[in-house]
């Protein structure tokens, strides 16, 4: 039994840790957290630096450049919502600033993805409130 909801793609629900991040994406910026104490850069948004525990974090927009650290092309969708999209390439992108993130490839054939391929950020507005960070071949 598959409910009607399961055919809709899940959308993020921003919280206190992530509100600025998702707002940034709506304005064409991928905001990374830079630690003023130890200079660690993190993608996963939280109140403190995971390296040193400092709460002196500063948002700076990423350059949007990165490399494919690994990937996997999905042929069997994880549920009905993604069935129409297969095959699609899930990317583990290593950003130029250091952190890695999960996203998907747009704009070219998933068969052409290779390790260490240069990619650049693309902004995909999927609802009135949510813009997802995706990547295209650089």
């Amino acid at each position: 039994m598959v409910s009607e909801d399961s055919t809709r793609k899940p959308l993020p629900a921003p919280d206190a840790d992530t509100a600025a991040f998702w707002r940034g994406l709506q304005h064409g910026k991928l905001l990374l957290q830079h630690c003023r104490q130890c200079h660690h850069v993190q993608y996963y948004q939280q109140a403190t630096c995971r390296e040193c525990g400092s709460d002196e974090l500063e948002h700076r927009p990423a350059t949007g450049r990165g490399k494919v650290h690994s990937f996997s092309v999905v042929h069997r969708a994880p549920g009905p919502a993604f069935k129409a999209d297969v095959p699609y390439a899930v990317l583990l992108v290593e950003l130029a600033e250091g952190p890695r993130m999960i996203s998907t490839l747009i704009g070219s054939d998933p068969k052409d993805v290779t390790f260490d391929m240069d990619v650049e950020l693309a902004f995909d507005q999927v609802s009135d409130h949510i813009t997802l960070p995706r990547f295209r071949k650089a």
């Binding site: 039994m1 598959v2 399961s6 793609k9 899940p10 959308l11 993020p12 629900a13 921003p14 992530t18 993608y43 996963y44 650290h69 690994s70 990937f71 996997s72 092309v73 999905v74 042929h75 069997r76 969708a77 994880p78 549920g79 009905p80 919502a81 993604f82 999209d85 095959p87 699609y88 899930v90 583990l92 952190p99 890695r100 993130m101 999960i102 996203s103 998907t104 390790f115 999927v126 949510i130 997802l132």
Partner: protein, 393 residues
Amino acid sequence: MSDTSLRGKVAVIGIGLSAVGKVPGRSPLSLAAEAARNALADAGLQQSEVDGVLSSHAFASPFHRFSVAFSEYFGIRPTFSNTLQVSGATAATMFSVGAAAIHGGLAKVVLVVAADSLMTGLTPDLALRSLTESRDQQYEMPFGVPVANTFAMTAYRHMKEFGTTPEQLAEVAVVHRRHAARTPGAQQTTPITTADVLNSPMVTTPYRKLDCSLISDGGAAFVLTSAEHAQALGIEKPVYILGCGECYTHEHIFLMPSLTTTGAVESSQRAYAMAGYRPTDMNVAGIYDCFTGTVIMMLEDLGFCRKGEGGPFVADGQMSYGGRIPSNTHGGLLSFAHSGMPGSLFHFHEVIAQLRGQCGERQVEGAHLGLVHSLGAGFATNATTILGTRGAL
């Protein structure tokens, strides 16, 4: 060895399975109770002698407190109980937590029991969704990332870094199927070739259908008690918990420190150190095999071969009979059965049966030391247990 070490303090004195494979119409509680009855009969104990219960969550069951619901269903009133959740690694942690509870005086006889009905209790889509929805709601789910995908990315990276081939991945599936063919009750026993694996439909690159574990119904149960109590009960072949280790390196795949070297290195090193044995001392192993590439990486991280050599190790027959470490001799999650979190308990059942010399034509001659490694959530969770006979104490 410190006084607090669990080494040899607790023994497994009973093992039992429920019906396994495709078992329609049976709830996880019903399967768990069947396995528990079998384990208690194997130990020669009454259910009233159980004062501790440890379980894992079941996707096809509405009960968040599975261990509590189980106790009600089974008609017992334990004074120690919990439902543990570290994904696929939960199996091994039930043994370490159970052993610690017994050693610390919280319980005398602990029943480790888990069951699920992923095959017939859930539709395939809902079974997959139940796994997808455990991914991060903001950073992973919007992109359609199945849990298989995270394991696939680690295997792909392993292929890129070390030259591991699709044929070597396929060989893992072939070996498991060959092992399952000799296991009564195994879900998939039809022989397969590497060509069959390489021609099966793509799921998420580099994994094809036959690189992926099964979806099954079934459960397993174990009876644990102190070494002293096992002796007082006159248990003929107690199997002792000699070493335990865990390691949790990340939650999100994008925060995994290395895609090709996992927390299994540390979890196993801790277990070996507690047991006082090395990888080369092990006679038999149960290695979590949710996907073929997972086994190759674990053979390396558990110390059975060097980093990057897992592919050739498997292709050379080293994970089967006559090789360096006969592993998953029951057929594993790939061919015996995979009913979710209880899946790794089947590895425990097999390794313990091997150490008791009860595996018939599957028996690894003279096995007295065995290792079981459980893991989950794209290598986020790792737990290793080392087991041994009286002679290995």
